[in-house]
Symmetry: C2
Subunit: 151 residues, 2 copies
DNA sequence: TATTGTTATACTCTATAACTATA
DNA sequence: TATAGTTATAGAGTATAACAATA
């Protein structure tokens, strides 16, 4: 089929949403049962980018509710991909850290994601792909787009 | 807070996802009970972009499952924002069309979306915002990124 | 027999509130 | 009293399969 497609009347958020949905669908379809879901990947990625951190931070940076973070970390801990340990300086906090298996699992999933992105972004030149990524990165890094729930 | 933020290790899909999630959250928070949800907006937008169409098309263009489309259209029809009528040439099909109220509701929601995007994309110059939108638009319009469920 | 749309259903994702343990 | 994390629960979003009507 020659791909008639919504234009979303010139707005950016619906376009980003469309790309993200297509990307996650393609990724989860490609990921075997020994690997991680796309939501688990977000958690592992944040740990890769920023090192061990308290659970509170996942809520802030990922825009996830605290109760979701608990469930996601439970899954990852059961699979042996992260560990939770108490912070001795403030025993209310759990410091979350990746295991070696967690590092490997993320790398494995990244390989899958790279394939998906190659397919989805294939109409853009490499330079344009880099440009798209840079623009999105700046937007997401801006205060307003951080996952803050304004609470 | 000075907004430390995930970098997602240089991938595009997670960045698009982050922006989309932040955008929908901000939009739905801003939308009153007399307005439409962001998923309903996608349906109305497709009708605006492409005119009256059968329900099958929503599945293809939006990447939504057929059963979801039914529910979404039920909501919109109950609110009087779309109408379904049988296609006389193929009585299996329902042709979906916006009502005047549907047109107005979409315009109203677009005004909200414009405010949200102004906030979220504010770190980019207008030229960069246009560039981002153009790149996303090309990606989404490419065959691979259409909501095709490969079935 | 194949297709469009519908229903029933279950599973995933997200949000809210009440709770605990620490501070 | 406030904060980090947990649990219970409900609601939104999504996917699968069986079905009715029509082709």
């Amino acid at each position: 089929m020659n791909s008639p497609v919504p234009r979303y009347s010139g707005h950016t958020i619906p376009l980003a949403s469309h790309l993200a949905r297509a990307g996650w669908r393609a990724l989860d379809r490609r990921v075997s049962s020994t690997e991680v879901t796309h939501r688990q990947m977000l958690v592992l990625t944040l740990l890769e980018d920023r090192g061990p951190m308290a659970q509170k931070a996942f809520r802030e940076f990922l825009g996830l509710d605290a109760s979701n973070v608990v469930g996601l970390l439970n899954e990852l801990e059961e699979q042996g991909l992260v560990v939770r340990r108490r912070n001795p300086d403030d025993r209310r906090q759990h410091v979350v850290e990746r295991t070696d298996a967690g590092v490997r699992a993320l790398e494995h999933t990244y390989a899958r994601l790279a394939i998906v992105e190659k397919e989805l972004l294939g109409t853009l030149t490499p330079a344009e792909q880099a440009q798209l990524q840079a623009l999105l990165s700046r937007v997401v890094s801006a205060p307003a787009a951080s996952g803050t729930n304004s609470d």
